[in-house]
């Protein structure tokens, strides 16, 4: 025990003097978590809460085009840019501005849109009137193919963004079209339908909507899914694995510096020394993880994000984090055993952390990965760690939900320890 404690204290003395290492362990993940939570907040946000700057080119002088414009303005989701350099924007200027990336997208209303919308509304109204036995009285012609409101996007825009904008504009135009149809029908029948004072057509049209409900019986504190709840644990795990750089560096440094030799010359089991070292880093990993959670709870609100909610099982969370920290520590020991110099070990350590986190669901959920990568993700400790921690933070979860991830992580720990031991033994027996 004395030897374990002595080693623990020695590691502490080494760590507290290693400012670079401390920065890598504590400062970098804090910055990383805040940045990543902000960056990944975008896709989680409802685009309804956001105002977009959009070039608006109206080549149609008609009533419908005007009400689309009015509607877009009133919706407050779009800030319409209609002039540039104090000149009205035309098609060519739009192309230039979008290509240059000055604006991200443009809404173009081609000439004839108003006429087309009114025409198709008349067609619909006449058809409905016919079915109700009313005479077709609204003027109409054959509808023209290929008339549409056009959207132009900056090539840099992500598909998800394009889709979101397209949906918003489409929904909007559909609403205007249906308003016009209703107005036409009212005109045609002169019936009570037109009396919107007592009959709220809008409301009726939305009588069936889509609404998210909770899957949880007991009402958890996490009422709405948000980016913080996903990104903080994920990037905290990522940060924890950066410990492997420090551990492998420490092991290689001891071996090259000769301390390893001296340690082996001292009687008594070498495993005491290894256990002391391991316990130090395991505890460090746990402290680091909880520090990241504190950042999630207390710092996130400062940068305009929701606060992290910790769920209801602090003890299970501690167990889960401990297993994960053991796995990260022994992974570092393995890297330190495999490589002869830090120059070889560091890039491998850093890149393997990035790869394991990419396939492990830190960047994007494992569910959206292609099948082949999803199979690879089974060997990523990040995947199991994230699964266990998500079970605790996002779902209502009891101990049997974390047994599997814990067992897998501890098996990984034992496997890496065994491999490190084999490698070290081979090195001794050369």
């Amino acid at each position: 025990m004395q030897r374990i404690i002595a080693t623990y204290i020695k590691e502490w003395h080494l760590m507290r003097r290693d400012l670079g290492g401390l920065a890598l362990l504590f400062l970098m993940p804090v910055i990383l978590i805040i940045i990543m939570a902000l960056v990944q907040d975008g896709p989680f946000k409802d685009y309804k809460d956001h105002t977009f700057e959009a070039i608006f080119v109206n080549q149609d002088g008609g009533k419908v085009a005007a009400s689309i414009r009015q509607g877009l303005l009133e919706s407050k989701q779009f800030q319409l840019i209609e002039t540039y350099d104090q000149k009205a924007i035309d098609f060519a200027t739009t192309q230039k501005l979008i290509q240059k990336g000055t604006y991200q997208f443009a809404i173009l209303i081609p000439d004839g849109i108003s006429a087309e919308v009114v025409n198709s509304a008349n067609l619909i109204a006449n058809e409905m009137g016919r079915q109700m036995g009313l005479p077709a009285s609204l003027p109409h012609r054959e509808s023209r193919e290929g008339m549409s409101v056009q959207l132009m996007f900056d090539p840099v825009c992500k598909p998800a963004f394009r889709l979101a904008i397209t949906n918003v504009v489409e929904k909007f135009i559909t609403k205007i079209q249906s308003d016009i149809v209703l107005e036409r029908i009212a005109k045609l029948s002169q019936s009570a339908v037109a009396d919107t004072g007592t009959f709220d057509i809008e409301k009726q049209l939305r009588s069936v909507g889509v609404k998210e409900i909770s899957s949880q019986e007991k009402k958890m504190m996490v009422s709405k899914m948000n980016s913080v709840q996903h990104t903080v644990p994920a990037w905290a795990i990522f940060g924890m694995f950066f410990m492997i750089i420090i551990i492998s560096d420490s092991i290689i440094g001891e071996r090259l510096g000769g301390s390893w030799t001296r340690l082996k010359l001292i009687p008594g089991s070498f495993s005491d020394i290894l256990i002391g070292k391991m316990l130090f880093y395991v505890l460090l990993g746990i402290i680091q993880f909880y520090l990241m959670l504190l950042v999630g709870i207390y710092v996130m609100p400062w940068v305009g994000l929701p606060s992290l909610q910790l769920g209801h099982s602090p003890l299970l969370l501690l167990i889960m984090v401990t297993c994960l920290s053991f796995c990260a520590t022994t992974f570092g020991i393995l890297i330190g055993s495999i490589f002869k110099t830090t120059n070889q070990a560091l890039p491998v350590a850093a890149i393997s952390v990035v790869i394991l986190s990419a396939v492990g669901g830190v960047w994007v959920p494992v569910e959206v990965l292609p099948d082949s990568l999803r199979a690879v993700s089974l060997i990523s400790p990040m995947r199991w760690g994230l699964q266990g921690i998500n079970n605790l933070l996002l779902r209502e979860c009891s101990w049997h939900d974390i047994v599997k991830p814990c067992v897998i992580l501890l098996s990984g720990t034992m496997l890496t320890m065994f491999l490190s031991w084999m490698i070290e033994k081979k090195r001794m027996d050369q």
């Binding site: 004395q2 030897r3 003395h13 001296r262 010359l265 009687p267």
Partner: protein, 244 residues
């Protein structure tokens, strides 16, 4: 004290054997010099004697203990000063010594007093709280020796303890070795400084390419080969060719 027979060691990835059928005996209570050009196999031989290298053939007996079966017991009785400065550069001298002392299961007052007296003996007590990386070459060597004395070894093995140190540090180290030997401890030491070895050692063993070249008291082997000093004898026996 040390009895070696037909010792043979060939590293897996090496072209030639590093120790090649080496047999010798060192008597108790002596300072013995293990000498040889670069790559002669000195460090390899020492590493086998202290149990660091376990894959070898031949028979090795140290302090009456068979190496293969009694490595743990032997570790309590020997102190090894590695060729490298085997200390943590970021830790202070005191922290290094405390750590290694505790690994020997020493603690409290006993350890503190032992460290203090050794630091005084080697003139480092005023620098105890300095980090090793801020030590001079001579201070590092002295601290490296202290760390191997914490268990009061019966047999002290030193691999080039005076490499790269100034005259003052060297003289301090050598006078310590003499007095340690006078207290009844045996010492095996390697060096490339042959006048130092000639003056210090009761006996020398010269090896080259893993093979024994000559063994005896400096006086006897110098006179027996008709050379003025150990260096001349060394060159005569090992040749002028520079080693790779």
């Amino acid at each position: 004290m040390v009895h070696v027979q037909h010792l043979f060691k060939h590293y897996r990835n090496a072209e030639h054997p590093s120790v090649d059928d080496l047999s010798f005996t060192f008597d108790e209570g002596k300072i013995v010099g293990l000498l040889g050009p670069n790559g002669a196999g000195k460090t390899t031989t020492i590493s086998i004697l202290c149990g660091l290298i376990r894959e070898y053939s031949g028979d090795v007996n140290v302090l009456g203990l068979n190496l293969k079966s009694n490595t743990e017991e032997l570790k309590y009785k020997i102190g090894v000063v590695p060729q490298q400065i085997a200390l943590y550069p970021e830790l202070s001298c005191q922290e290094n010594l405390m750590y290694y002392g505790k690994l020997y299961k020493l603690s409290g007052k006993v350890l503190a007093e032992k460290i203090d007296s050794l630091l005084r003996q080697f003139g480092l007590h005023e620098h105890a709280n300095k980090q090793i990386r801020n030590f001079s070459g001579g201070m590092k060597r002295r601290a490296n020796i202290i760390a191997s004395l914490l268990n009061d070894p019966t047999l002290l093995i030193l691999d080039e303890p005076t490499a790269g140190v100034d005259v003052q540090s060297r003289s301090m180290i050598l006078s310590f070795l003499r007095s340690y030997n006078e207290q009844g401890h045996s010492i095996i030491y390697t060096s490339h400084l042959l006048d130092e070895a000639e003056a210090l050692c009761h006996e020398v063993l010269i090896i080259d390419k893993g093979k024994k070249i000559i063994q005896g008291t400096p006086k006897a082997i110098i006179e027996g080969n008709d050379t003025p000093n150990l260096e001349a004898l060394f060159l005569k026996l090992t040749g002028n060719k520079v080693r790779d």
